[in-house]
Symmetry: C2
Subunit: 511 residues, 2 copies
């Protein structure tokens, strides 16, 4: 019997990916594992894509609804998108092939708060889950499942699906065993009770997932790495953002508004997040904790160095080098890393109770502190809102960060009016760019505009934005949130027409 | 000793409103009671307005920051606005005088989620609260305070203010004694624990407020009614909206997605809410509960008839006739009405746990389900977001309702792009107008647009909105959320220029 499939009943269900993919048919709703490129099924989606291609070749329709944890990888989203096999995709994606098809109008994508999908499925809002395809690290002798490098919505898929396909991935480290905490509260309203978690490190469930053997239609063995993008060293803008943020946190500690070891940190993925983690590593802060979605390289290093006591998340997102570091230190980290289902890691009850410091990226913000996290020029989907809304609305501090310009300086991150709103003025405490930090707490819209103009806007766009604000103050119909409607989206329009948000004079200076 | 001031220490601090107002000085931050025109101080604000007028007459500056529960009344917001005595107003208002000054740019107004103000004050984000001015119904022999017809943020003002002015209002019914539930969890992150409330009827605190006697600088006796606007019988549009919503809830019950007695209802105030309550009264639904902000006439009648078992709120908002009905039945209702501080009534932890059905009004929604609750034509403040965000984000079902047109048919409630976003596409489950109901759950943006076009838009605007959507589908840069940016806000621009959102042809037909 395989080292990783230690229960004979499950072992008897071993099949090839191709055999397993036969259980998925046109029109089905399929719940798949995967969160930030970790723990997604590696084999069945590809076999399914082949089935879909064959059906389409025979003139037969074959498209499915794909629900996951969050983003996956080319082997899943890319493979299924390429063969036009997805009718509806929920709740987050970052695959280039899938994204381009979404933005060409080729399929439906529903972008919802990552912390809400599982409960909405349990409420019955998404109808029946026909099949679950879930990667795990091992099946124990007692039939319990050792979760993989992400937990995501796997508990919900296993509970709710009519049929379950398990992918047991030998590549996933043995060391994962024991790091997970799977909470069971099957109650729906009006029978729910408080979630008994008062500290990021509390374990309130079991380290293992469960599934009735008779629901399992196939067990597929794989041996393939997670997406594991290489680590990119933080660039200058990210380092500047991280430095502004660290200064602000120091100030808040001095004011007595945040404890010396900060509050549980939620940190998105990417260059800025890594720069901030690096900044923390070099800072005086100690005894840190994280209550977040993802553990990436920077946070892992904080855990290894001991600056961070523990991290609660729902997924890893490590580089190949990060994986090596994790394996080196896995034993020591076992009690200090907790992976939960995303309905718990992103739960508003817990984010509010713990008082998280929420750090999220953004595409753009406007004068009044409204934030666009998802839509390029108001119409094209980038990735999705992810967990940013779960955290920002309920956090102790809700921080949004981005370089002050994009596209080689042709796009301003700060605009008169954002072209899409994911986080309203009510949910944004602080905006940080490489230019500086605007503390928007307790400010009226006009006060926020002045803070953003003073601290965040790139010099090549500041005169134009100041000019807009001044003219809006004078000419706006209502002067609570001054706008000139015919111009409010003009910067985006100009970009679509000319390839630059810069006006003619500024464009000349830029060229 | 007064019947309502039964403790000698407090009785000794009796003063006139004019004397009490002396404790409030230029530049101070003042926390005042009051929520939806109930339980606000009736005397001190007027006396303060006189002081301010005198100062201004003498060429001296005198403006204060006013924090309340929610909206108050002409005696507070109106009186202070009229004398230009407010520098900053937080977190909600509905006074015509104050609103017009906000929209003329005469003062700063900060609109935040009603459930968040108390905690942000406790975090220290608003600085020091200099003075609290809090209406109560009585002071007991033991010095405990019987709260008034609203609780609002009063516990926070009493706890945090340097000095406290109490207004003891004889007009408030004796019957209020025992209806309140004031929860004490003084812990700030990272020391918070779960809120031990699992049912809207759970009592988790004390019926009384407390304040150290030595912080009380004045006790003022009053005998004045709450704002108590007369009840307006629901109009035809409101009744149509209520009927659509009841049909939808029946459908959800039949599908097994909602219990037969529904889930705890959160209902805003106003004509549509009253129409819905009247619809419930005439419906087959029984055993109802409410976990909401405000108990208005319609909900009171449901309680009296027994269709509703109990209601948890932070405030009453009754008509004069409603007050009479309340007094008639007060004894029987004592155990079935619970008034909490708004930090509890609107707490995301509880809204999510209980699975509230959130029913809120809106100014406008767009094709893709984004909702504007606050800004007229994107720039002028109506009232504020209130508790709608506390409930909508975390509710079991998040419903937004409005007549399909406003201003005698010249404004469409459904527009290409909302001019301000308070509730994002991620937080809106259902949109209802007199035309019908669009169930937006599990839909992509384009699917949402089709549902809204089919069910919600008034016929006089439907052709134009269908035309916009069709052209956006064809011409939009990204086709996930199709928009034509130069036209997205054109309906609002047209209204500002011509007084109507109707295009020339439709305007002719309308005239």
């Amino acid at each position: 019997m395989s080292h990783r499939i230690r229960h004979p009943g499950f072992a008897a269900k071993r099949q090839s990916a191709e055999q397993a993919a036969q259980f998925i048919r046109h029109g089905m709703t399929v719940g798949m594992s995967g969160f930030t490129g970790a723990g997604y099924p590696k084999a069945v989606p590809g076999a399914l894509a082949q089935r879909i291609t064959a059906s389409h070749g025979a003139g037969e329709p074959f498209r499915i609804k794909v629900l996951t944890g969050a983003s996956t990888a080319p082997e899943l989203d890319g493979a299924l998108a390429r063969v036009d096999g997805i009718e509806l995709r929920v709740p987050f994606q970052s695959d280039p092939e899938l994204r381009s098809r979404i933005n060409a109008g080729g399929l439906d994508y529903m972008d919802i708060h990552l912390g809400q999908l599982a409960e909405k499925v349990r409420y019955g809002f998404f109808g029946k889950i026909d099949v679950a395809v879930v990667e795990i690290a091992a099946i124990r002798e007692d039939g319990l499942l050792v979760p993989s490098s992400s937990v995501g919505n796997n508990k919900t898929w296993l509970d709710m699906a009519d049929a379950v396909i398990l992918e047991v991935n030998r590549w996933q480290p043995d060391a994962l065993d024991g790091m997970h905490d799977i909470y069971t509260d099957g109650a729906l309203p009006p029978h729910r009770t408080p979630i008994p978690l008062a500290h990021p490190g509390d374990r309130i469930g079991s380290p293992y997932l469960e599934v009735p053997l008779d629901k399992v239609v196939a067990v597929v063995e794989t041996d393939a790495p997670d997406r594991n993008s290489p680590f990119k060293a933080p660039d200058a803008a990210s380092q500047a953002i991280a430095a502004h943020l660290l200064d602000f946190l120091r100030f808040e500690v001095r004011q007595g508004r945040i404890p010396a070891n900060l509050l549980p940190i939620q940190s998105g993925v990417g260059n800025i997040a890594n720069a901030f983690m690096q900044g923390l590593a070099e800072s005086e802060f100690e005894g840190l904790t994280a209550f977040t979605e993802v553990i990436q390289d920077g946070m892992l290093e904080l855990l290894i160095s001991g600056k961070m006591e523990l991290a609660s998340a729902t997924s890893f997102s490590l580089s190949p080098a990060g994986i090596e570091r994790f394996l080196e230190h896995a034993e020591a980290l076992r009690q200090r890393i907790i992976l939960r289902q995303q309905g718990v890691s992103n739960h508003p009850e817990l984010v509010r109770r713990l008082g998280c410091i929420a750090l999220n990226g953004m595409l753009e913000a406007d004068l009044y502190g409204n934030v666009n996290s998802t839509h390029q020029m108001g119409t094209g989907m980038m990735n999705g809102i992810g967990g940013s809304g779960d955290f920002a609305r309920n956090a102790y501090l809700s921080v949004f960060m981005a370089p002050s310009t994009a596209k080689n300086g042709l796009i301003s991150t700060l605009v008169p009016m954002v072209s899409h709103v994911d986080h309203t003025e009510h949910d944004v405490s602080v905006i940080v760019t490489d230019q500086g930090l605007a503390d928007l707490r307790m400010l009226s819209p006009k006060q926020r505009a002045r803070a953003i103009l003073e601290h965040c806007v790139h010099p090549s766009f500041r005169p134009a934005l100041e000019d807009y604000f001044a003219r809006a103050l004078a000419g706006s119909h209502g002067k609570h949130t001054p706008h000139l409607l015919p111009e409010a989206l003009a910067w985006h329009e100009r970009y679509l027409v000319t390839g630059s948000m810069l006006g003619p004079a500024a464009q000349e200076a830029h060229d």
